[in-house]
């Protein structure tokens, strides 16, 4: 991973554990399932989409907020960097 992708990953991981899960100590592993495991419930997917749009200027369409588009931190970082 380049520095850029590491930064993107750690910012998102920090947002998920701190803001969504309200448990900053919780470590999000790069290949950990986020959506299909229920770690991020559907009510928080919108939040994650808005966060990504604000921070990285990458738009993830509403219809892409599902486990088919991304289910892990790695996949999400891939989606973001491919669109930057």
């Amino acid at each position: 991973m380049s520095n850029d992708t590491t930064d993107v990953a750690s910012m998102i991981a920090g947002y998920i554990s701190g803001t969504i899960l309200k448990n900053p100590k919780r470590i999000i592993k790069p290949d950990e399932k986020l959506i299909s495991s229920g770690l991020i419930d559907s009510f928080h997917l919108v939040d994650l989409g808005l966060f990504i749009e604000d921070k990285f200027g990458v738009r993830i369409d509403d219809s892409e907020l599902n486990a088919d588009t991304f289910d892990t931190l790695d996949q999400l970082v891939g989606v973001i960097t491919s669109r930057q």
């Binding site: 959506i35 495991s37 997917l45 919108v46």
Partner: protein, 565 residues
């Protein structure tokens, strides 16, 4: 806005059955839009009443071809779209009894879904399960695993071929008003085992009492994202519009949750006048609707946004009004309703176009308690003490009902039906009080969690948590804790751990959270592992949920115990 136009029609001079009303509308107003279906990636599809009946007739032919008999139950598992609409009304025209169930979601384990569906088949004994081609294998596996001797057919239908109706030949035209017209289930392993069976007459009695209570006219337009496997979605936002000839704009709950602003866009596009939302959706729309989704949106056509199906909070109503006032939403459009599937739908309704009454200081902390309005004219409400005697006005007790729109029974569950009634009164398990003829709902006697408008049975979650390694089986308590910013309850699970090691507990807490989500589709906000003998038990040895909730809240306030999850 004062109701304008003629009141919504009473359409069943011959026989109050669904099929008669469909036939009548097909004759009188075939070109009237019945449902505008909205999709995430396709243009809207408008079904007129002609389209609806022709599609339903095509579906009824499929059921006839499979030798399904009138009066038999057909379970419908379809995603949002034409096939779901035609399957439901096709079952009706055929005279079968539809029961719509939720599809499998990506969070839920297929094995758990199969298990719950098998159990439901065992109790309900449907003649068929209707689904889409990709899911037929899963449904067939559930059928094979079920305990019934006469296995239901699995019918996969993706596209329905419309057909001209010959009403005289349709089984639905021979149903009578007291026949059961549909079954409704709530979610979870426990909820799925109690299908609320409603007669044609009960549904019409509800609609005929409810329509005037909301001033329904043929000029209304109802907008909904609610799922049809829920009473608020099925009755208020599907049957009411179709049977009363009021156009419906219907979108998928899965599309709405990813972009709540779509509800406002739909209202604006179709000049929507009525919508029903659970309390959490007020907060969710207010905080999550993107500004770019609201550009140019005009909500001035809305004459009622009705808060129903979970406890109503003034803070949620105010957040919604504050956010959408600038888009033309009138504050007097905010309305409330108290409803349940066992009464078909509404028990009470606040006066439309008037501010909802607030009982100052009656709610949590110093918040006002929001009124749910007055009972419908056909519903009697009593508030009872533990010995089933009436309490004084303003005193909290259990809400009991008697009406002409009650369930016929819990389908194939005479035990549960008998248990639900006392002396002819349906005991709701909800707590509340009456004040000047208005009902204020304060809480629940039964240990039910309502999260995001969905009923969750804590015993289901406790059972699952007990199956996780590292948890003392039988030593788990699940309960809901109100989260003001979300406008709904957070699910909390407290479990006694076998290990005292903190890292090990963290691992177990994570496993519990995941295991519950994947087996119940319920997101758990907080898993707390505690020492042995932390949980309070009743004298009969059962885990006392309310006492454990109180203890949890007390320890949270003190900053302990060590919590994970």
């Amino acid at each position: 806005m004062a109701p304008s136009g003629p009141p919504a029609a009473c359409l069943y001079a011959a026989m109050p059955t669904f099929s008669y009303v469909l036939a009548q509308t097909y004759t009188d107003a075939p070109d009237r839009p019945a449902i505008h279906l909205q999709f995430a990636k396709r243009d809207d599809v408008t079904l007129t009443h002609r389209d609806l009946v022709r599609g339903a007739t095509g579906f009824a032919a499929v059921l006839a071809g499979e030798n399904i008999q009138p009066g038999e139950v057909v379970v419908i598992i379809q995603h949002h779209g034409e096939a779901l609409v035609y399957a439901f009304w096709g079952a009706i025209l055929h005279g079968a009894v539809p029961a719509i169930l939720p599809p499998l979601t990506e969070k839920l384990l297929p094995e758990r879904y199969r298990h719950d569906l098998s159990a439901l088949i065992g109790i309900t004994q449907p003649a068929a399960v209707i689904t889409y081609a990709d899911f037929a294998g899963e449904v067939q596996a559930a059928i094979d695993a079920s305990s019934v001797t006469r296995k239901p057919k699995c019918i996969a239908v993706n596209v329905v071929t419309p057909a001209e109706p010959d009403f005289a030949a349709l089984g639905g035209m021979r149903r009578t008003e007291d026949d059961i017209v549909l079954l409704q289930h709530s979610s979870g392993s426990t909820g799925l085992q109690k299908g609320v069976a409603l007669s044609h007459l009960s549904v019409f009695n509800q609609l005929d009492a409810y329509a005037p209570a909301i001033g329904l006219t043929e000029r209304d337009v109802i907008v909904s994202w609610l799922p049809l496997y829920h009473d608020m979605g099925l009755i208020a936002s599907f049957l009411l519009p179709v049977l009363k000839r009021v156009p419906l704009v219907l979108m998928s709950p899965f599309d709405w949750v990813r972009a709540p602003g779509k509800l406002m866009q739909a209202v604006s596009k179709y000049r929507g006048t009525l919508t029903w939302l659970p309390n959490f959706a007020y907060n969710f729309c207010a905080t999550r609707a993107r500004d770019r989704d609201l550009e140019g949106v005009d909500l001035s056509s809305l004459r009622a946004v009705i808060n129903c199906s979970e406890p109503v909070y003034d803070s949620s109503q105010r957040a919604f009004a504050a956010k959408f006032g600038r888009y033309g939403l009138r504050e007097t459009a905010l309305a409330t309703c108290y409803a349940m599937a066992e009464n078909t739908f509404a028990v009470t309704q606040s006066a439309i176009g008037q501010p909802v009454r607030l009982n100052e200081g009656g709610g949590i902390g110093n918040a006002g308690q929001v009124s749910s309005g007055r009972p419908l004219p056909n519903v009697q409400v009593r508030v009872l003490d533990e010995s089933h005697n009436d309490v004084a006005q303003g005193t909290i007790g259990e809400i009991a009902l008697k009406s002409d729109c009650m369930l016929s029974e819990y389908y194939h569950r005479p035990d549960a039906t008998a248990q639900a009634f006392h002396d002819g009164w349906y005991l709701t398990g909800d707590l509340g009080y009456m004040l000047d003829g208005e009902l204020f709902v304060t809480g629940r006697k039964k240990d039910l969690i309502i999260v995001g408008g969905k009923n969750v049975y804590p015993q289901d979650l406790e059972q699952l948590a007990g199956e996780v390694d590292g948890v003392h089986a039988g030593r788990v308590a699940a309960f809901g804790v109100f989260n003001e910013s979300a406008g709904t309850e957070d699910v909390v699970v407290v479990a006694e751990a076998e290990s005292e090691d903190e890292a090990a507990r963290e691992q177990v807490a994570e496993s519990v959270r995941q295991y519950i989500t994947r087996n119940s589709d319920v997101a758990v906000r907080h898993v707390v592992l505690v020492d042995a003998r932390w949980l309070v038990k009743t004298s009969s040895g059962k885990v006392a949920r309310s006492a454990n909730k109180a203890k949890y809240l007390e320890e949270q306030a003190l900053g302990q115990p060590d919590t994970q999850g």
